[in-house]
Symmetry: D3
Subunit: 282 residues, 6 copies
């Protein structure tokens, strides 16, 4: 069960409105790696958690924090939209700076949401739950979490370069700080799980059932061998089962597939009708 307090986790107040930036900031609210995604991802991983209670509790702690980040971003976006010149269309026909603000805004901010934040990304595409991952496997999911925090931080840093508003930047300083913490958190959690089970997720499939040496071969499917020069093609395998092998010219092992002709009831073959396969009981 959840409770709310009215104070924000951190200040979220722009120095002045900027409706074009409001549109851009939507990316880290309702985009693929926005705060809605991490909020829902951590909550679902927590609610579904079948592992030790410390993991469940940790996941719900961070998921609960992220609800508050959604709150901060909504608050910021609503204020960035204050004073948007959406009724100044006649002026816009003469003043190109007003015209470019109107063209660069998200029209739904002025038509749909009453100058409030919308649960979409910077192109107005709605958030959807396929952005999130909850597999029940801690290592796989912590990697999803680390990925989300990495992509998310990258986007926030890029957005930082696209404004100079001190109020916006102040909030971003805090969000960047928390994303750095959260990357640290998942890195530490991953290390804890890998210490038990090694780095392959899941590790539980028997190695004697794999097809060797396919578990160690980097296959060069293109002309040229630049790809042979990386750590993925040389030296020890991270899972400790041997060394990478570079296969300069991979060979097909599977033969040429030949599918059966189509079933008659599918009516896929030119030149075979007219007929009905299923005459029925009548």
């Amino acid at each position: 069960m959840f409770f709310h307090i009215k104070e924000l986790q951190f200040r979220a107040k722009p120095e002045k409105p900027d409706p074009v930036y409001a549109r851009k900031l939507q990316e880290v609210l309702g985009g693929q790696f926005g705060e809605m995604s991490v909020m829902m991802q951590y909550l679902f991983q927590g609610f579904n958690c079948r592992a030790e209670q410390k993991y469940r509790d940790m996941l719900l702690d961070i998921g609960t924090e992220e609800i508050g980040h959604v709150e901060m971003l909504c608050t910021m976006i609503a204020q960035l939209l204050d004073g948007a010149p959406v009724d100044q269309v006649d002026e816009a026909a003469k003043d190109p700076l007003i015209a470019s603000v109107l063209g660069g805004m998200n029209p739904q901010h002025a038509i749909v949401s009453g100058l409030g934040a919308v649960p979409t990304d910077s192109n107005g595409f709605p958030w959807n739950s396929r952005y999130i991952v909850s597999s029940g496997h801690l290592l796989a999911d912590f990697r999803a979490n680390l990925n989300a925090e990495s992509q998310g931080l990258l986007q926030v840093v890029r957005l930082y370069e696209q404004t100079t508003d001190p109020g916006v930047r102040e909030m971003l300083h805090f969000m960047i700080s928390r994303d750095i913490m959260h990357q640290n958190q998942w890195l530490a959690a991953i290390e804890e799980i890998e210490a038990i089970d090694g780095p392959i997720a899941p590790a539980s499939f028997p190695r004697e059932l794999t097809v060797e040496p396919a578990t160690r071969q980097f296959m060069n499917f293109s002309a040229g061998e630049e790809s042979s020069m990386g750590a993925w093609a040389n030296g020890p395998l991270p899972d400790g089962t041997g060394n990478f092998e570079y296969v300069p010219k991979p060979q097909a092992m599977g033969g040429i597939p030949v599918l059966n002709p189509p079933a008659d009831h599918q009516h896929s073959i030119p030149g075979t009708g007219p007929y009905v396969v299923n005459k029925g009981q009548l």
Copy 2:
């Protein structure tokens, strides 16, 4: 530019048809972490790659391999659908095993695709490109790749438990082997990049602009402190900037937000009309 040979990378032939399993196997073809996702993810990362050529080449090698995995799965699914009893509806009214096959199949296999594979997941939801990630940042993207291979391998192993067909299992042996290799690959590539830049992605944002100590605090947003017992709350930070701190009772730092009243042209305030703000030039 790409070329095709007719042989499959590995055998993909079931011992006997199983249209219900065909539906399930769609998950790793057209689901969130299916082969279509990794194929498109690696190809887009490669096409967009602005880093050293060895990375571009490596990404396109593995992306090209994955096109061939899509090919194998389509081939397998089409064969699992051979002989689906979709025209035996009168028999199904008497034979519950036929009825349950018809109920458990994907109806679109028999109506839409002519008993062929469809580019969707196991519930018939279409693949979409928001499943993939290509950010231009190697560390962030390699983490996305490691996540995709982890979730993907987990799903394939679960599917392995849901069939005993020797032909299907043989193909899965190979796919599991490649997913193990690909996890190894991304683990090695990540290690290579982290050696340059440390584990935070991106590392380029100046630390003096962060809000301290927020970069190191695990905040306990729930009653109870089980979450204090993990590596994410104690000991050294993976980025080497100090130690984790556990904050048992996080405090709000942001004050209570008060938004301005709505703009008149938004018509959001009960009791204020009738009016038109923008009278126009006329």
Copy 3:
């Protein structure tokens, strides 16, 4: 069965083209609460109607009218797009007003639809049928309809403020008028149904099976009690079963959930492999 006449229900002719406004007007054609939504919502409710014929007839009357509203909006949008300067890209590099028109347009109007209306909202997001509701329950659905007409009218009024073109405004005068009528219509229809059954939809679930006093409690899940000052927290319940109660500090009644450990065949537990649960018949 349906018939068409060539005349529009009302005039739909702008005084002059305005391709940026064409993009905005798409919101009330193909957005969440646009004319496509009410058209399809009323038609589906009518086609599925299992109640008295007068309801079915009424739903199909209004649904049929809305097809004509889609027609009017498409006609208007096509004319607003006349003369869009999409081939004046070299001029745009010098003239910021042309540049801002090109930037503010929907590019698909010029690439995909041949300067015609598209079945999407103002951000180019396609209309989808999850926008509509048809539950088979008249009271529930009439509330959906009243909501749709309320959100729709609000959006049209906001769009009215964003143009001063007399031809566009003339059409909006008519559409606003019909939306007012349609709100009146659903208000009257709701009153008619509530007179039979009371205001809870559905009313048919036995009250003795509810958990009391949860049917009357407003629960204050946040610090501070401003929420105690509304009609939702004091005075008689609209359904006539008593009075609202304000619960300043809601208590959990459900205990701490503990989920079972994961099933082995899910391969979710680090440190337990290698194994295959389902060895198969072979």
Copy 4:
């Protein structure tokens, strides 16, 4: 900012597993009118609220409660999935009851989520944010909320008829009770707002700009006049501006639209090429 306690708001424990019902119950978790929808709808309305603080506080109270309902449903679904016979495929080939369970389950519960709840509806379609409404207008939004609680309660009552498990029914008793309360809440809140401004949302558009008598006419767009017999076609208008009028044969007022020929640069006219309109600067 938000906090979590580990106890559930109410008990959520089935007497025995039922993986087919788990799939069905997903509808009220991640469907159009499920708990994810009301949770996000109330939170966004609250975060964006520009009205008096009592409304903001009330919206966030109920939004915060709904996070806890998502938690209860996830917990219930995870337990309903315990013991799902997904590895008993060889048995299923002989036992039609096992086969029908496997066919009736959501395959993603066993492949993707590790027998946990998924953020989708009962057909596996992902939740998306176009399910929610936050317009900034209290009356319009409270009607959206009343609609959501009406559709939601109807669905829960239907689901109640589809199980007899005492543990599931106990949780549904509580959820039904809260939905009844929430309908009462929105009914009371709507009455409070309508008292200020009348029942049209928004009321602020000047009536002298409407096209009369279109604001009062029910138009009979189909053969037959059954639709004349309802409260929507007779008697006083709910907004107090007069009486409904029934128009048995509505007339077109708009003339036949004739669109201009296509712009040359659109290449839409057969028989006009070859040409390039935009020769360019070169």
Copy 5:
């Protein structure tokens, strides 16, 4: 403007209910090539039509007919759902035939729509407007229409094989007949347009700007030359500009692309920080 009459265009009454078939029949109502698609496609093409009035009139005639087909399918599906045993869950635990019906139904028919048709395909995926095409170019669009009627007829014929209910089959006889007519219609219309302009859509791009001989070469991008044996690789080009040429080993003409290094403000390069490119005005 549109009108409705209550009679259906053709009979739509099953001999007996069949809720599993109701789910399947949804494909041709709300699927990619269902009646909703052709209805909306023809209406949008008609509303946007900038060509001679006879085309506009023809498009709206057929679009209007298709609204009536949506009506017939909804009516049929609602009746197929009568008597669905959704409350017989205890019986289903013993009777595998009831269990398989429950497993094979669309759960939303019983939870969401009140045993009515839903605007989705056979997997419950919602109809969306990206299924339709309206480009403003008659030849291109008539090809889209011919494709839609071809895919649609194929699906209806496949569905015909999946039922033996005489009432359902009677309706399908009619729908198949109309789809045959509609294929004939588009074939004739295409021939009419091709007579003006030749078979390339659009024909208006100047041939002297093309890259020759790329307009006539079939390129063999795979090992083996089976593809050389078709009409697409030999003999005259349908557009009359010469003969096909078969290129057994296509050569790359484009060089190896090398992208510039990432812009600094994108923070994409490991090892370059810490920095902020945009220091701002302050």
Copy 6:
């Protein structure tokens, strides 16, 4: 199995950057009829092909070529994005040309993809697999292919008019050439199949089961008879079964549908409660 070479099929290098055009060009990469669509459509048709090997080989040849077209477009878009002034926001507040570039760009190019191509259309809507068709029926699918190449070529020609960059135009010259070839290809392939089976897809349904004369009637569902003047309403049917007939006033043949009252367990009827239909076993 597939291989890659590093050279592009054709040059893809703009003379100078143009981030607004980069957004537009996305339409033919990731839009409904972009290169991703034809690539995946041909590959799936090839992988699923149950017809003669020459068709399979041909489909995979062209599908493989299209992967290379995706590569060319990604390369072009990445270069058009070089130098995008996304960090010049303070300058944009003064210079309307910079402001209009920032407003007209896709913000995700600068926030999400690191100035790389994204797998979406020109409005940022993600590519999804419902854009593609693979039915197993050669004639139906070749018509889908011809449609895709027609819509695609039309869009590329329109985009050609929207730039004058010589480098972009050079690449478009080549892509236009290949689209012309591909239309020729499908026209020839269609003719080959129609020679076997006639022009109705599928032809295999027995004509004696159709409802005559519905297979030949053009029905005039609107007032006015302009639609009688086309080849679709007069003269011989393309399938050779007779002549078109024009029906000026189509008559309904289906009677007025009356649906049964709702099932009690659906709780759809006002005034009938309180009750629970399914009391359960207890």
